[in-house]
């Protein structure tokens, strides 16, 4: 399969993840969408790395995965905190930055 196939796949998954981030009501749902987007990015990185012959991309992907894990942990901690203060995990209720 050529590079184009992998890039196409990654693009599609990225957009699905974007859709999920924008539309989901539950905060954890938003996090799931973000996960998908990060996944797509990883596919991109690995594909470019493989087709380019340089392993730097794969190392990058490694780092990305680890950082993602940290980010999910912190994100969930925030969700729990929000849930404790607001008794709600609905993203619609988090609008204190409202203009």
């Amino acid at each position: 399969m050529g590079l184009q196939a992998y890039l196409t796949l990654a693009a599609v998954v990225f957009c699905i993840g974007l859709f999920g981030t924008v539309t989901r009501r539950n905060t954890i749902g938003i996090l799931l969408g973000i996960e998908l987007m990060l996944n797509a990015v990883n596919i991109n990185l690995v594909a470019f790395s493989r087709f380019g012959g340089d392993d730097t991309g794969m190392v990058f992907t490694l780092f990305a995965i680890c950082i993602t894990v940290a980010e999910v942990a912190l994100g969930l901690a925030i969700v729990i905190l929000l849930f404790r203060t607001r008794r709600s995990a609905s993203a619609d209720h988090i609008d204190w930055l409202r203009g």
Partner: protein, 164 residues
């Protein structure tokens, strides 16, 4: 019809399908499970790209760690099955429009660029190369990553500390 092509298509279909199920599902827990499926499919894609180590890390960390974290998060927020929180009825049209337009643009962009069609040959074991790079060229980011994980650990435990 080589195995590679079949494998790629299979994993791709599973990935996209699972992704759609994640974002369109009504039940949050089901979404999480479908995410796990998607992550594993991604690992399969990595395999087709000869990135075995990455695939393994993906399964370990993502499918194993992240999903576990999310499940625990759900449990803690006590919104489980029966709670119809994850309604997707939030500006679906706008979101879908932007996502679809972005997809179209990206795909067109991709198709306009001349890209490689065959993988170059492997110059040795990829995993070994990666390990060497990690400890020689990318030592600093590696160490920093460890620090980051520590900070993340501290931060998360601080945020989620019991109220007192």
């Amino acid at each position: 019809m080589t195995l590679e092509i079949v494998a790629f298509w299979a994993f791709a279909v599973i990935l996209v399908g699972a992704g759609l199920a994640v974002v369109l599902g009504k039940n949050l827990f089901h979404s999480v499970l479908f995410l796990a499926l998607a992550l594993i499919a991604t690992a399969g894609i990595f395999l087709t790209l000869d990135a075995e180590f990455i695939a393994a890390v993906q399964v370990l960390l993502y499918a194993g760690g992240v999903i576990t974290l999310v499940v625990f998060g759900i449990v803690v927020t006590e919104r489980l099955v029966g709670e119809k929180l994850s309604h997707v009825s939030r500006h679906v049209a706008a979101g879908g429009l932007v996502a679809a337009a972005l997809a179209i643009l990206l795909l067109r962009g991709i198709s306009h660029v001349p890209l490689a069609t065959t993988k170059p040959g492997l110059a040795g074991d990829l995993t070994r190369q990666m390990g060497t790079s990690l400890l020689t060229r990318f030592t600093l980011p590696f160490e920093l990553l460890a620090v980051l994980l520590l900070i993340g650990l501290l931060g998360a435990s601080y945020f989620a500390r019991p109220e007192d």
